[in-house]
């Protein structure tokens, strides 16, 4: 297997992150874990945006991933974190395979609204389930990794962080290859002109279907990791404003590069941490104005700042 420049740099950054995790303070590790886990969910949003679909319901799979990890430990005796994460991804794939059959018939705002509706259905069910803690959700704890139980607090924080960085690396490399491979390129062609893709003898619907399921699995992994990191899940994960946040991060980063969602998620987390501390009632307003600013001035996201510089050097 040959690795290209992007993959090698991703790996280098990931290793640096893991090493950095051993020396940095707890709050920073926590912030970065959440940021990276969210970035994985955002990768799912971005994958669909590349094919021209904006999902206002990615929180559905975020929530499925989180709840499966939580319920696995709570009710089914799956205490191994890796197994629980895998189970979450599996459940998300099954759900996505069913919903995808319906959703891939829709485009544009209809896709957005219907995906939103499905995540709100899950929200509605969870809010009414007493055994799952209703609106409060429940705690996720006592998990192990391959039989080894990290000590509660700093130890488990460290472990989740390492797991998040490593799975982030694997997913990033996979997505990077996916976008370069046939199906990834077709996704972009569908965004540009679906009818012509059909004329070429391809079925946009099945390409989108595959893409949808893949995006769901990535987002579920992000949800599962978030559950492990925060030690808690609640129905808010499926609420549509959560999905709106993912769209925000996706647009902030842009579709230009697989690393963009990670960078955008870190920027998002840092800004939010400080905004909530210093100006609690204007946090959403900051988000709103930033979103408008990104749409008007940086339509290709933060990543275009980096890539523009590069092309300038070449010229």
């Amino acid at each position: 297997m040959r690795f290209d420049k992007t993959e090698i740099s991703l790996a280098a950054v990931a290793i640096a992150c893991v090493l950095f995790g051993f020396v940095s303070p707890g709050w920073l590790i926590f912030l970065m874990t959440i940021a990276f886990a969210k970035a994985l969910v955002v990768q799912g949003v971005v994958m669909q945006m590349r094919s021209g679909l904006v999902s206002f319901g990615q929180g559905l799979f975020y929530c499925i991933g989180g709840y499966t990890v939580g319920m696995g430990g709570q009710f089914f005796g799956i205490h191994d974190a890796i197994a629980a994460l895998a189970l979450g991804v599996l459940v998300a794939i099954v759900v996505a395979m069913i919903l995808g059959l319906l959703l891939t018939r829709y485009r544009d705002i209809f896709f957005a609204m219907l995906s939103l509706a499905f995540s709100m259905i899950l929200f509605g069910i969870l809010v009414k389930s007493q055994s799952l803690g209703s609106t409060d959700g429940f705690n996720v704890h006592n998990w192990t990794v391959f039989g080894w139980a990290p000590e509660v607090g700093a130890g488990s924080q460290q472990t989740v962080f390492t797991m998040t960085v490593l799975s982030g690396l694997v997913i990033a490399v996979l997505i990077h290859r996916y976008t370069k491979a046939g199906i990834g390129v077709i996704c972009e062609a569908i965004r540009e002109n679906e009818v012509r893709v059909e004329y070429l003898g391809l079925s946009p619907r099945w390409v989108l279907y595959g893409n949808y399921v893949a995006a769901a699995s990535v987002s579920a992994l992000g949800g599962g990791l978030t559950a492990l990191a925060t030690g808690h899940v609640d129905p808010e994960m499926a609420y549509w404003t959560t999905s709106g946040e993912f769209i925000f991060i996706a647009l902030l980063g842009g579709l230009g590069h697989v690393a963009a969602p990670f960078i955008a998620a870190i920027v998002f987390s840092v800004v939010r941490t400080y905004a909530i501390e210093f100006v609690p009632h204007t946090w959403q307003m900051i988000l709103g104005f930033t979103l408008l600013g990104v749409i008007v001035f940086l339509p290709k996201g933060l990543w275009s700042l980096v890539s523009r510089e590069k092309s300038g050097e070449r010229a």
Binding site: I109, A112, M113, L116, M120, F123, G288
Partner: protein, 299 residues
């Protein structure tokens, strides 16, 4: 039998409320092709302005109660007008011509901004304006007691629907709007002032949203976040009916209203589930909604 009656009454009250909320959303989409996420915020702004004005009126004690109803409506009209003009002229005008889905995201940004603006203006503690609600008393229908205010809401909603329909179908301005809905370019070529019509439509839609909020305010406590809850319900209603269709919104509201009322009475766990379940079911069979037009695909 009584529970069936209760479902019917609750359902129609809820449906008329849903229609009030959804009407402005569907008008704006029909004419401007903007699926306005910030519609819920207009609703909340209407509710806040009405609640604070009516609350102030009753706290100062003097004057007959019927004036409070005028204040309710007046607050909504003024708030809707101001916010509508500011948003259309100040933001949306600069954004026209972008992708429909990008417009959704732009209005989402607007929603975030308006949510916090409301927190800054009205604070985070709840506002109450229950007097107009309790003042009207209750009526007994069989074994049930129904608030007259709720019944009046059904009437207002029906009147508003009829008014909108008459405006679109029976006036010159309505004709122009319908021409714009069918083909914007041709109507520009025929000399329609599209910019002006956009402003009128948007302000009308905003005012309808604010009115819905103002009329709801006496029945609820006005707190931050009410707009965010409302918007997805309104979406479900207009998507079921077919985006941009007033009749569709009415049918969608009835469908959602009655099924939610039935769920509340017979299977309360499914209350939220039912609304989106109905929506998914309708869309599965009629992707454009019940009254939506199927568009030909263009290359």
């Amino acid at each position: 039998m009584t529970s069936l009656l209760a479902v019917l009454i609750d359902g129609s009250i809820y449906a008329s409320w849903l229609f009030l909320v959804a009407a402005g959303l569907t008008v704006i989409y029909g004419v401007m092709r903007i699926l306005n996420m910030a519609h819920g915020s207009f609703y909340a702004i209407g509710a806040y302005s009405a609640a604070s004005l009516v609350g102030w009126y009753f706290n100062n004690g003097v004057g007959p109660a019927w004036i409070s109803y005028l204040l309710l409506v007046g607050a909504a009209l003024v708030a809707g007008l101001i916010v509508g003009v500011i948003v259309e002229r100040g933001l949306l005008r600069l954004m026209y011509g972008r992708d429909e889905i990008l417009m959704v995201i732009i209005t989402y940004a607007l929603l975030l901004i308006l949510e916090d603006t409301m927190k800054i203006v009205w604070g985070v503690s709840p506002y109450f304006a229950y007097q107009p609600y309790s003042e009207l008393g209750r009526t007994s229908l069989g074994l049930l007691k129904v608030s007259n205010y709720d019944l009046a809401l059904v009437g207002v909603s029906a009147l508003l629907g009829l008014g909108l329909w008459a405006w679109l179908e029976r006036t010159n301005q309505g004709k122009v709007l319908r021409a714009m809905i069918h083909d914007r370019e041709i109507s520009v070529a025929m000399g329609v002032n599209v910019r002006l019509m956009f402003t009128i439509t948007f302000v009308l839609g905003t005012t309808l949203g604010a009115l819905a909020g103002a009329l709801t305010a006496p029945a609820i406590s006005v707190v931050p976040g009410i707009g965010i809850e409302v918007i997805v319900l309104a979406f479900a209603v207009v998507v079921i009916g077919g985006l941009g269709s007033i009749g569709g919104a009415a049918v969608g509201a009835l469908l959602v209203g009655l099924s939610r009322a039935a769920a509340v009475h017979y299977a309360p766990e499914f209350e939220l589930f039912v609304i989106y379940g109905v929506m998914s079911l309708v869309l599965a069979f009629r992707p454009e909604g019940l009254f939506g037009r199927t568009l030909a695909r263009k290359i």
